[in-house]
């Protein structure tokens, strides 16, 4: 008999190697949360700089009160899917509020951001269609593409000319064409050059979906994302986003102006065959979206904090993932062992960042990935810079690993 788990031996060995260096990257436990930017990890108070908690809204008193009130009033869970017993007035209220915020005619809420991509991509594209996806797309996009059964063509990251070439190769084929981009790419923090892609769209004709997971609430004068920042919202047919970043809860959405948009509710298995979000989760998301709409100072604060960290890293001479200020700031490491060592040294010294290694990164990069929060104080940002100076710029990672 073949043991089904044998195939995972290479990955198990890789984690065992990391653990033998005294580093357990997936075993980090927040023993106690103190604030959006602080937690107790390994018994020590640690600055959190890898949480995607861009607005630092997770401990907002109004959001917590809204969640508590919804749980008291409507219970702990909905015990059903949106197409059965799981649609409450709250779910509809959140969809309406989001549609207003996004300035889109239609919005559908999902239980997680991952499911939002699975649902939207599999609902929009079918086996006769072709999806063109950016090479650096998030796994939820790849998985949504697979679920759709569509033909999948990958184009070079952020390269509109490369997309154009690949569209040309598929001219005359049956079925529709969907192009998928992200507002801010989660690993390197770079933005899609939307204007370039819109030019290709005008010449070739396709429908465009933008995943604004990391840019929703963050970019643009109205906080609606990259398309808002670029002034090109009319060119983006479908928007996907998540509540687990700037909204500080869990869930996701798909939105658009297409007159037939609502039919997707009956065509997306990841929407139809899962329980809807709990009342508390929906209510906190609703309260948070209202705050994103009303309180633009949060975006301003995030921009200032991002610029402070970016500038500090630049002054240290660190090799960064992209040269534009973004709330995602990734530092390149020469190899996996060094990255593990530096990551561990940073955690021990009191700052948690994400470690990202191949195949989860583009171009085989090993990254120490920071995400900035509007809730970070100047002192916290300065401390993160100081520790990166001591550990990363000074090249202490390898030394720590070797004891």
């Amino acid at each position: 008999m073949i043991d089904l788990l044998d195939k995972h031996r290479p990955i198990a060995e890789r984690f065992a190697r990391a653990r033998s260096l005294g580093v357990n990257t997936i075993g980090v436990t927040n023993e106690r949360m103190i604030s959006p930017t602080r937690a107790i990890i390994n018994g020590r108070e640690t600055i959190l700089a890898g949480t995607n908690n861009y607005m630092g809204i997770t401990f907002d008193a109004d959001c917590i009160a809204a969640g508590n009130a919804a749980m008291e009033k409507s219970g702990t869970g909905t015990t059903g899917s949106r197409i059965a017993n799981g649609t409450y007035a709250l779910h509809q209220e959140l969809e309406e509020e989001l549609a207003r915020f996004l300035n889109r005619r239609h919005c559908i809420v999902f239980t997680t951001g991952y499911q939002a991509n699975l649902g939207m991509l599999s609902g929009l594209a079918g086996p006769k269609d072709t999806i063109f996806l950016d090479a650096d797309s998030h796994s939820s996009i790849y998985d949504g593409c697979t679920l759709s059964g569509a033909k999948l063509v990958r184009f070079r990251h952020n390269d509109a000319t490369d997309l154009d070439k690949r569209l040309a190769r598929s001219e005359g084929e049956e079925g529709g064409r969907l192009v998928v981009l992200e507002g801010i790419y989660s690993m390197l923090g770079d933005r899609a050059p939307l204007a370039d892609f819109v030019e290709v769209k005008k010449n070739r004709g396709f429908q465009l979906l933008a995943d604004e997971a990391h840019s929703f609430g963050v970019l643009g004068p109205n906080g609606r994302g990259l398309a808002d920042e670029a002034g090109l919202e009319d060119e983006v047919d479908f928007v996907v986003g998540t509540f687990s970043k700037s909204v500080g809860a869990i869930g996701g959405f798909g939105a658009g102006n297409h007159p037939q948009f609502e039919v997707l509710r009956y065509a997306m298995r990841p929407y139809m065959f899962t329980a809807s979000s709990s009342p508390a989760s929906i209510a906190t998301s609703l309260a948070a979206v209202k705050k994103l709409a009303a309180e633009s100072w949060r975006r301003d604060r995030l921009r200032l904090n991002s610029a402070r960290l970016f500038g500090g890293f630049k002054a240290l001479g660190l090799d960064m993932g992209c040269d534009v200020v973004s709330p995602v700031i990734a530092v390149k490491c020469p190899d996996e062992v060094t990255a593990l060592g530096m990551w561990h040294a940073l955690l021990t010294a009191g700052v948690y960042v994400n470690i990202a290694v191949p195949p989860g990164t583009p171009n085989k990069l090993c990254l120490l990935r920071c995400s900035v929060s509007a809730a970070h104080t100047d002192a916290e940002i300065d401390r993160i810079i100081e520790l990166f100076g001591e550990v990363v710029a000074a090249g202490h990672g390898r030394k720590v690993v070797n004891g």
Binding site: T130, K151, R154, P359
Partner: protein, 79 residues
């Protein structure tokens, strides 16, 4: 060795970091220890070299260099 296989082997060189010996039966992912993302990057080079489209769903069925060559030839003939 067919011309297509020889050209694929040439394109594979920069990805074959362990300098493993290549044959038509070489499993591109497991024999060369190349991760899934890198295999996709390699296939992009193949697409551009032959000016064809090798969709990811077709790629899912391909394991060896010979199978890849067969898929490439089927598509160059179509073009």
């Amino acid at each position: 060795m067919s011309d297509t296989i020889a050209r694929i082997c040439k394109l594979l060189e920069p990805f074959n970091t362990n300098n493993a010996a290549l044959s038509p039966q070489t499993d591109i992912s497991t024999d060369l220890n190349i991760d899934s993302a890198t295999v996709m990057d390699f296939v992009m080079e193949v697409e551009d070299h032959f000016d064809i489209e090798l969709p990811l769903n077709v790629l899912a069925e391909i394991r060896t260099i010979a199978e890849l060559a067969e898929a490439v030839e089927a598509r160059t003939r179509k073009a």
